[in-house]
Symmetry: C2
Subunit: 407 residues, 2 copies
């Protein structure tokens, strides 16, 4: 679905959004009162969408509309279909993680307008980390989230036709996949005008652009990203896509969703925890944040294996009659699959760290540090990521030291 001449698309503003919502009885009654009484607050973040939080006497909602161009550069045109994929992702994962995504309320395919429940009183996990929040509970919950959302959208979640339908839909999401391919998988490994980084990193970046062992690992991870048709991924699971409330953690912004290796979602999240760890102002905070990466990973593995053990889905991959001879057989298959996901997690985590320090969309996690610590700690983070990429075989042990995998 792309912008065509006869589309009814128009960029909304608070007034026109109010009218659109007033014309949708379920949404109007959710908000309550008269349309004129609703407060509409724009909270747009990022370059690609407008986002409004709408409050009425009875309730609230969040409205997100694709922009037809990059906000800061109206000449950089963008197809509008990203909210279509975000809506599709929400629809696909809601049944298996209903309490960890905002409730879907409405999607208008002409306006590319997605309306969900409003996550009042939530902050992004990035903000929570900057304020020194304990990362462990969120890390553990996101482990559950990734395990459930990927397991049930994988070949283990049902007959192959389910997966084929997801594949058919999400393979259309090439606009945002192109951004991932360029910014995460490619640009940071050579000179590119979009790249920028702290001057302190120059010697490492020079090596990053030339080291054959690292480039070999990057080719391997690219191959995994492209060829591993494992499950529906969120596709952009950094700490800004995780909303933290009082008793609730929610995942938003599934517009980068697509079918790929499960370790990609794991690696994005782990990479951001490791970045936060290297950005920590103290050694104890650093340990706590690195430890949270292992907590995420263990929570993921435990949940993934539990979903598998208790799944009653009729599958074409490894149907019961092929794998129920032997109580150890399922465990053997689980270990093989989890080892592969863990290996991918380590590789993609390293690439996420690299691109957030040397690519286009740099991390803000180090912003609070004074110099020269800022440069030094970024140097340590990048060194660590490059060490992982120098030898993918040993990367999982380096990333999750002393991990106890419940297998």
């Amino acid at each position: 679905m792309t912008l065509t001449k006869d589309t009814q698309y128009r960029s909304l503003n608070p007034d026109s959004l109010r009218q659109v919502l007033a014309d949708l009885p379920p949404l109007a009654s959710r908000l309550g009162g008269a349309a004129a009484d609703w407060s509409i607050r724009e909270v747009s973040d990022g370059n690609l969408n407008n986002v409004w939080l709408v409050h009425g006497p009875a309730g609230s909602l969040c409205a997100k509309q694709s922009l037809p161009h990059v906000r800061v550069d109206p000449s950089w045109k963008m197809p509008l279909d990203r909210t279509t994929f975000e809506a599709g992702w929400l629809e696909a994962v809601t049944p298996v993680v209903p309490d960890m995504v905002p409730a879907f309320l409405h999607f208008d395919p002409q306006l590319f307008l997605l309306v969900t429940a409003c996550l009042d009183d939530h902050v992004t996990f990035t903000e929570a980390l900057a304020k020194g929040a304990d990362p462990a509970p969120v890390a553990s919950q996101i482990g559950v989230f990734v395990a459930r959302s990927t397991f049930h959208t994988s070949w283990r979640g049902g007959p192959f036709e389910n997966m084929a339908r997801l594949e058919q839909f999400f393979s259309g999401n090439t606009t945002l996949s192109r951004i991932t391919v360029d910014l995460v998988l490619t640009d940071p490994y050579h000179d590119h005008p979009r790249n920028h980084y702290h001057a302190e990193l120059q010697p490492l970046v020079t090596r990053l652009h030339a080291d054959p062992a690292i480039h070999r690992s990057v080719c391997h991870m690219q191959s995994r990203f492209f060829t591993a048709r494992e499950a529906l991924l969120h596709g952009d699971l950094h700490s800004g896509s995780v909303m933290v409330g009082q008793d609730k953690t929610s995942v938003i912004d599934g517009e980068f969703s697509g079918i790929g290796p499960i370790g990609f979602d794991c690696g994005m999240f782990v990479g951001n925890l490791i970045l936060a760890s290297f950005a920590a102002p103290s050694g104890s905070r650093r340990d706590q944040l690195h430890q949270a990466a292992s907590i995420f990973h263990e929570s993921f593995i435990e949940t993934y294996c539990n979903e598998w053990l208790h799944s009653e889905a009729k599958t074409d991959l490894a149907p019961t009659f092929l794998s129920s001879h032997d109580p150890d057989e399922i465990q053997r298959q689980q270990k093989e699959e989890c080892d592969r996901i863990t290996a991918d997690t380590a590789g993609f985590a390293a690439m996420e760290i690299v691109r957030r320090l040397t690519g286009y969309a740099n991390t803000s996690l180090f912003n609070g540090l004074p110099e020269p610590q800022k440069g030094k700690q970024q140097y340590q983070a990048l060194s660590f990521a490059m060490e992982l990429l120098s030898d993918l075989k040993t990367a999982p042990e380096k990333l999750f030291p002393g991990r106890i995998i419940p297998l």
Copy 2:
């Protein structure tokens, strides 16, 4: 695209086909003369389509139309879209193997009618084998065919968006993929009413339905089939899909096409050569046919690596700047990729042998043998396939003994 109420689909007969062709000027002029002069010969084979060869004074063509039901059972309804996928496959591979597929002439999406050049004076490779033809030249040519058709429709053939478009289209081919999943990957490994086999095979079949090591290998190969998003496959590359002419080998019947592991196409073809080998009436013929499997494989590997070396496609997977440091680096990557394809080839070849001896669509290759040889030789063939599946690690060496891989 499926059958809907307002479709203009109707099952054609020679008279109505003549009218359809007469209304298409390029086809009418290809045939030449008056429509009444054209000879139309039905050569339908298999259960799913009608096929006619049409000859006129100036030229000829082949017309293939999907049937809305299984020929032998009109109550077994089938969606019509399989010729849509065959036409899509032909369109995708023709640019890279123009001399190894029949020329595409016309596709009517309402009638699900595909018209191609007529392969006059060709016989199926199955028939050629039964007549004792030397299998080596065809095996070598099909090696070239699989290498080119998969390499250029893989992530190495162009930017990732090309592959995403193929994925979006071919993931819709679930009707015929369901047949592959059931008949090739699943049914032969347990009791199923569709299965049938020579009485001599009973002890082996009993083991096949219960052996944990074999079932583990089957689960692994299922996982490869589902998760390995490597290239566009023909999907049904048995000897009946290969047409052999005087100086030309062509591949037809791409209706099972889809995105999957390259070793699946290799394995189907190799499996059929090995079956032919075990069906041979003499030891020397057996050796010649088994040797042809290695000839196919070496031709495939050599061509695949050559296409890779000489490709100038701009790719997202392993772009030049990541893999051109070192003359050995490409060779190292090629070895890794070819080893993976070879491992898949061995596993899928074994499963093809198993299903052609114990599943629904049994091979005709043993039909010329008298008893008790027929039963004995099928027993040997099935034993060999089960030996491969008992240990996938050693399967490539057993399948291609003493192979010299040009790497």
